[in-house]
Amino acid sequence: MTAAVGSVSASIDRWRGSARRCLQLGLAPEHLVWNDDGSATQLLGTALPELPAHTDRGGGTRVPRNFILLAASVACHRDPIRWPLLYHLLWRLAHREPHLLEVASDPTVYRLIQLHRAVRRAAHKMKAFVRFRAVRRAESASEEFVAWFEPAHRVVERTAPFFVTRFPSMRWSILTPDGCAMWDGEALRLTAGIERHRAPSDPDSLEDLWRTYYAGTFNPARLNRTAMRAEMPARYWKNLPEATLFAPLARNAPARVTAMIAQTLAPPAPVPDDLDAIEARAPGLTPTVDAGWDPIHDPGWREARRRAGAAGIRAAFPLARPRRTVSIGVAGWTDPTLTADDVFYPPSATTAEARLRFYATRLSMVEVDATYYAMPSEDTARRWVERTPEHFRFDIKAHALMTGHPTSPARLPQWLVDDLPVRLRAARNVYTHHFSREVIDEVWRRFLGALAPLRDAGKLGAVMLQYPRWFTPTRASATLLHEARAHLGTLPASVELRHRDWLAGRMATRTFALLRALKFSYVAVDAPPGMESSMPPTMEVTNPELAIFRFHGRRTATWETRNEIVTERYRYLYEPTQLETWVPAIRRAMDEALCVHLTFNNNHANYATTNAVEMHQLLADGGEESSLVECGVLSQARRDDQQRAAERRSS
């Protein structure tokens, strides 16, 4: 190891000295042993004899210039065979074969050329794969650029001048295990190598932009990973910012091509007449036809699992500070993309019971969406209570008929179907207004009745009323909200609105006032921006007991497409930086409400669970909150809840 630290130029000088001496002493290659630092001893370990005085000065063995160039290159190779091979060649050049270098078919020449090519390739790959990161030093205002690189051979000295020529006005350093090169704008310094952990590791913000470019320039129709690996060997991957995209880009390519070919069969889009018409179309609102695939926000479940692991914390307990709790969860724990092997659940969790029990060891609340499609039963609710710890909360989504959504008669119980006019019983969808008022009242009664076990155990977070896009701010809508509250009685409930007019201008104040009066928690949403149904990311606490945030992902392409498979629509993994932007609003909500629920609805595979854990960590990192168990607030929160439950029962 000690020898390896020395610079390559020192070792080549040492080798040249030794080789010249050996040649003059007439020592044949087979009598010599070469050390990695370029020095030689005789076979059996005897040191080289001194030269007779008269030969030492001239030195003068003439060799072809190409040999010197070859030796300087081969010296960078890591294989110890380079020195004996070079001496072997030198010996033959000096003894009756002065033209040997031109005979590329000679085995010795061939092997040296192979070594030389490996070095040349390593140098070339260094020029290609060094990735600088901008660093701003506190003491100087100017930017510096630092790269950590692991070359295949010891080519740092050889390649540093290239970077000097290319980046004369930048201050840069290339750090490697073999040696470091530093340029301050005037002089190049070469120093000893360092270990990886001593190199700065902060990513550069430009790397995201670079990855965006990289993903964009890839043509999925031409997938050829063999060619890629041949040119960019895996040994270099760990220091390339774009490497995180290799696997996901390749994996998604066939599906993208199939989609494009299928799409070709569709009729062509209409032709606008002139450029003005095209330019007039507001950017951002034109449909993206290749819904494409967004590698940053759809990196696959393995990457999401890695990130969840890196977050390094379980969000099993709510975050708390005195009399305030934040519970984080996802929408549904049984989605097939979530229950798939290895994604989230352990192999042992194969039953509904085992999954919910496991889920509750990871997150502290869950939103139940199944109740939107099918009426819950009291038995089910009782089982949910039994299978979860006491701090666990359920937000239950109201049935479609309770919020005016369409629903399929096929999924309705018989007593509801019977109420429909005969012509509608086989219809694809029916709406609330197709039923008699009495029957809808009965839906409410049965639905809420089934939730009694959750309510009694203090585990009912809220009944979630999510209204359709066409539920606009009208008098009729206000009446419906009043009626909903009448049905609910004192049960905790939340309202998610999906038409932006509710928050447009002065309407926002009236909307919030109405919700406040009816004691509904306003649900703040994060969703793809710029759509008609996307609400602005606004938080208003309208119920001092509970504030709710829902995160839908920002997958623009599928947001408003009808009949999109749910797990496709929500196929979006937030970047931690995107989550961070919500932290201030969540903290404000904590000041105003006793409980805060954060629900991740980007439920494709483990994207939601990963973001939930990451959000938990972001909030925990903030400092003032610590785990609920530690600060002993759990019992207090539970007492509060139980007391509230008792009050409800008595009322």
């Binding site: 031109e102 005979v103 590329a104 078919s105 000679d106 290609a128 794969f129 990735r131 600088f132 990161r133 650029f145 290239f162 020529t165 290319r166 980046f167 004369p168 930048m170 550069d204 430009l206 995201d208 932009l209 670079w210 470019y213 990289y214 964009g216 320039t217 890839f218 043509n219 999925p220 129709a221 031409r222 997938l223 050829n224 063999t226 060619a227 890629m228 041949a230 040119e231 960019m232 390339l240 290799f246 880009l249 494009m260 070919i261 799409q263 070709t264 062509p268 889009a269 606008p272 002139d274 450029l275 095209i278 330019e279 950017p283 951002g284 034109t286 993206t288 036809v289 290749d290 494409g292």
Partner: protein, 424 residues
């Protein structure tokens, strides 16, 4: 729209241009307060999973376009999302990427907006700002719009390392069908403007002393001009493509012709084939192209009247040898350079080494392996002092089976890299 969103759209829109090469530029380095260098070899800073090199920041200034070329994702009638960079945004992006050593430079192209001249001026503005305001000495490739004024094309040549105009389709009939606004005569006329600019600059350099050149370099697209043809979008045969290429190399003195297998694009027009691109056909065209430029083959030798397309199962040199068995076997110890170059499995570099080694040694069979000859293909066609092909030779009726590669896939993957290096 954020820079990132624009970049995603405008990189995607540019990726159907095959070329990303940064080679061929003359050595150039930045002033002490500038940035960038080129040294002729080109560097691929990354590779995408399609095995293609990422050397330049290859983007469009905008993907709005007044043209309606069926094969193009950016055509007027496409429903693709549109975006537009300002010249300043492109300059900043190029420099930011370059400083981090992500790229060798910029390859800038654009949809045609307003008119050809206006668009060309925008492209020039980017290159000029990089060179003059920021002292950028890295590689710049500008796509040239054939209908732009000759003065603008000449201006572009002053700032760019390479100019290119895409022929796209080899016959006017193909263009009429798929790219009604394109005109082959206009395209070749514009190519002629570039060719003359390059020639004049070379002659000027020859008459000015070296010191003067160092002070104020006279340059005009020093890395030459290139073009691209799409393969498989129409029924044009390989014979047609190769004859067009040959004409472009000799008459327009192009540096490179790129072949791009027509690849399905989102929201494609229905008059195009909806199928995966034939990467193998594209690869064979590149091999044939190399044979014309470095191996002394004539376009007409590579295909026949009866079979106007290159064979997919053999490389074009092997196909040629199978059709011309009477010229083999070749004795590698006496054959001329031209004859050696025509042996299947023997590359330009191998020939150079054979000729050098032959001055001092007789070549034997094992020597050829060390000279990087692909022996499976070469074996039936050569003679050495210790080897004659015998039953394996060119007269053998089973020759075709003998040289048949074990599997198509292997052939493709092992030679995929060759498409970039050009080594056969």
């Amino acid at each position: 729209m954020s820079i990132s969103e624009k970049l995603a759209i405008l990189a995607d829109a540019a990726k159907y241009d095959a070329s990303c090469a940064s080679s061929g530029a003359k050595g150039r380095k930045a002033a002490p307060n500038g940035i960038g260098s080129t040294d002729g070899t080109g560097i691929c800073h990354s590779y995408t999973p399609d095995g293609r090199c990422v050397s330049l920041l290859k983007i469009l200034l905008t993907n709005y376009c007044i043209y309606d070329c069926s094969y193009c994702i950016n055509r007027r009638s496409s429903g693709v999302q549109r975006a537009r960079f300002t010249p300043d945004e492109v300059v900043r992006l190029t420099l930011d990427f370059y400083r981090r050593n992500y790229i060798e430079g910029l390859f800038l192209s654009s949809g045609i907006i307003r008119d050809a001249d206006y668009t060309m001026e925008q492209l020039i503005a980017v290159a000029k700002s990089l060179r003059l305001t920021h002292g950028f000495a890295g590689y710049i490739h500008l796509k040239t719009i054939p209908t732009a004024a000759p003065d603008l094309i000449r201006e572009a040549g002053r700032w760019a390392d390479r100019l290119s105009i895409n022929v796209e389709l080899p016959r006017q009939a193909d263009l009429d069908a798929l790219a009604p606004e394109k005109n082959l005569i206009q395209i070749t006329r514009a190519m002629g403007t570039i060719r003359d600019g390059i020639t004049e600059a070379r002659e000027d350099r020859a008459h000015v002393d070296r010191a003067a050149i160092a002070r104020a370099p006279i340059a005009f697209s020093p890395a030459g001009q290139a073009t691209q043809m799409i393969v498989g979008a129409t029924d044009a045969t390989d014979a047609v493509m190769l004859r067009v290429s040959a004409a472009l190399y000799t008459e327009q003195r192009l540096k490179r012709v790129y072949y791009s297998a027509f690849s399905p694009i989102p929201d494609a027009s229905n008059i195009l084939p909806a199928a995966a691109p034939s990467l193998l056909r594209e690869h064979r065209l590149y091999q044939a192209d190399w044979l014309m430029r470095f191996y002394g083959f004539d376009a007409n030798e590579l295909t026949t009247a009866a079979i106007p397309n290159l064979a997919l199962e053999f490389d074009p040199k092997l196909s040629w040898a199978l059709r011309n068995r009477d010229r083999f076997p070749v004795d590698v110890n006496v054959a001329s350079r031209e004859e050696l170059l025509r042996i299947p499995g023997v590359g330009v570099r191998s020939v150079k080494r054979m000729l050098a080694a032959r001055r001092w040694r007789r070549l034997r069979f094992d020597d050829l392996k060390r000279l990087q000859v692909a022996m499976t293909r070469a074996r039936p066609f050569i003679l050495t002092d210790d080897y004659t092909p015998g039953r394996l030779g060119p007269d053998s009726s089973q020759l075709v089976q003998r040289v048949q590669p074990a599997s198509q896939l292997d052939l493709w993957s092992s030679s995929a890299a060759a498409a970039h290096s050009g080594e056969l």
